[in-house]
């Protein structure tokens, strides 16, 4: 244990990390989605009503029927909703202030949650166009999308 860094006089303190090393199976749909991210392609899935759901889900959100038809969607889209993360906690994928946003990619009818690497909250607005910034090394993870970036004059 280390010397005191917290409250109280002369109290010891020490870092304590509790970690659960989950190893999850993806299933075919999420597996294909993550494989696509690794290959630089974002995929959605076709719902029973023809809507494109992205990120894909395994079962139709309305009827519960299994869904199987996967389609590509764009790597650009628009912000549907967002909030500003001014104080960044450890373990976030960006280490500086950024937006957390719901982004509806072109060709998709639903939105995904991801980070938007914007210079300030003033630069972000609902409806703003964004594009994917891919990670340099991709492994089949949602963080293969390093961040979304604002497109054009909005930045």
């Amino acid at each position: 244990m280390g010397e005191p860094s917290g409250p109280g006089d002369g109290l010891l303190s020490a870092p304590l990390v509790i970690e659960y090393p989950f190893n999850r199976t993806t299933g075919p749909v999420i597996g294909a989605f993550l494989t696509g991210l690794r290959d630089g392609i974002v995929t959605g899935i076709t719902g029973e009503d023809g809507r494109i759901i992205c990120p894909p889900v395994e079962y139709d959100p309305t009827s519960g029927a299994p869904l199987t038809t996967m389609v590509p969607v764009g790597s650009e889209g628009e912000i549907v909703s967002w909030s500003w993360v001014g104080a960044v906690r450890d373990g976030q994928i960006l280490d500086h202030p950024h937006a957390l946003a719901l982004v509806r990619l072109d060709g998709a009818d639903t939105a995904m949650l991801h980070v938007v690497d914007a210079p300030s909250a003033d630069a972000v607005r609902t409806g703003a166009r964004v594009r994917i910034r891919w990670a340099e090394e991709r492994s089949g993870s949602i963080t293969d999308i390093a961040a979304f970036e604002l497109i054009g004059a909005d930045a």
């Binding site: 109290l11 870092p15 659960y20 993806t26 392609i41 199987t68 038809t69």
Partner: protein, 181 residues
Amino acid sequence: MSELWTQPAIDTSAIDGLTDAETIKRVRIPASISYNYIPGLAPTRFLRGLAEKKILGERCQTTGDVYVPPRGVSPIDGLPTVEQVELPHKGTVASFCVVHIGFGVNAPPTPFCSALVLLDGAAVSVYGPVQEVPYDQVRIGMRVEPVWADDDALTTSFENIKWWRPIDEPDVDAESLKGHM
């Protein structure tokens, strides 16, 4: 490898460029929680004692029982334990189990014996591995002593006691250990 799931096959024919090779089937998603652990006043006194190879318990004002590690309050009367007691470096195996599945960064190679050791004069037992004896020869009532880390490696940690080992003394009657786990 056997199938990891049973779900309808998916159709990815509309997606150009999706590689067939090595589709993602498993992902590691560790969930971790980081604490800054502050043990409190009485455990701090205990841990500082360990740095000097002292095992310090604290006595209940009502029953006279000595608690180690101390929490600063007696679980019997709810009052502060104000008297500090230095306990001897001798104890008795009050209970034990044999561990066959390794875990933790400092655990001995499996199989090993993890024991509750009732220090002489204490009311409750402390945990620790028993080494320097085959794991299948550990028994309740066996007399043991702590094996300490080297002096220059002592810290304010219970890991200063690397393990417990048998000493050449007659076993303690198991009946006398009841209620002290």
